[in-house]
Subunit: 129 residues, 2 copies
DNA sequence: TTTAAAATCAGTAACGATTACTATTTTATT
DNA sequence: AATAAAATAGTAATCGTTACTGATTTTAAA
């Protein structure tokens, strides 16, 4: 991602224009309204670049598709298994306990995923992304 | 999942025999040591059944594959982006803050996913899985 | 400006995890 | 045992994503 490209700018503008958590395919159809002949591969490649550079966030809610988020500030995603909606939530004291009170959201199974680097790997400075 | 099947029993025994978080493919190769001509489709179908019935847990760490967990008790999964290892962790007071202290684990981006049912859908009793 | 190297592109083929399909076998019930 | 429902093996298809290739665009320097 060394050079400017009109395509990447359009992709970023599409992501920043929504407060949903769009998939690559949705972004593709939207960005084609700006650049009709843009390639799906281009969308995927630029999304990977934007994610790697930290400009957008990758959200995995377990529906088999990668979702993207323009908001990179610390927050939780409440993903509803019924309607698929992804709700942005902010941390307070105990994030788990306050979910029902604050959002009326019932966590299905109290198992959560935290991604990062384990003790063995965090000192290993050759970790990409 | 109304009738007994030797295949499902073998699949469950394979999952229960490890404390890793195996994928369908790993389970397939392992269970073939017990039932050499078992079909990959059978593995997938039974895993879906076991997950639906709550006997195993589905873990999505964002590597494009579904992982399974025999331990259905409340815990977090710390997935290392470098080595792919999935570490089981237990909640204390503030799950986020204590991660570095307790496990030496550095969360990459403080955004977490919680799956469940939103306020609109939780009263809707026709929600599968 | 012209130019050349590097980066990016469009288009398409390939990939891998998962799901769907079908004819056959197994299970539970009579 | 006879029957119907459920589960199977094997294979084909699906779908999100990645890889490839030759053409185009961008950058930086002459």
């Amino acid at each position: 991602m060394k050079n400017y490209s009109r395509q990447r700018e359009a992709i970023l503008s599409v992501i920043s224009s929504t407060d949903t958590h769009p998939t690559a395919d949705w972004i593709y159809t939207e960005v084609r309204k700006l650049i009709p002949n843009i390639s799906l591969g281009t969308v995927y490649r630029n999304l990977a670049d934007l994610r790697q550079s930290g400009m957008v966030l990758s959200v995995d809610v377990g529906d088999g598709k990668e979702h993207f988020d323009y908001d990179t500030s610390p927050h939780l995603h409440l993903s509803c298994k019924a309607c698929g909606k992804i709700i942005d939530a902010r941390l307070k004291s105990d994030p788990i306990a306050s979910l029902s009170e604050d959002y009326g959201f019932v966590p299905e199974i109290p198992v959560y995923v935290v991604r990062g680097y384990c003790a063995a790997c965090k000192s290993n400075s050759l970790n990409p992304q």
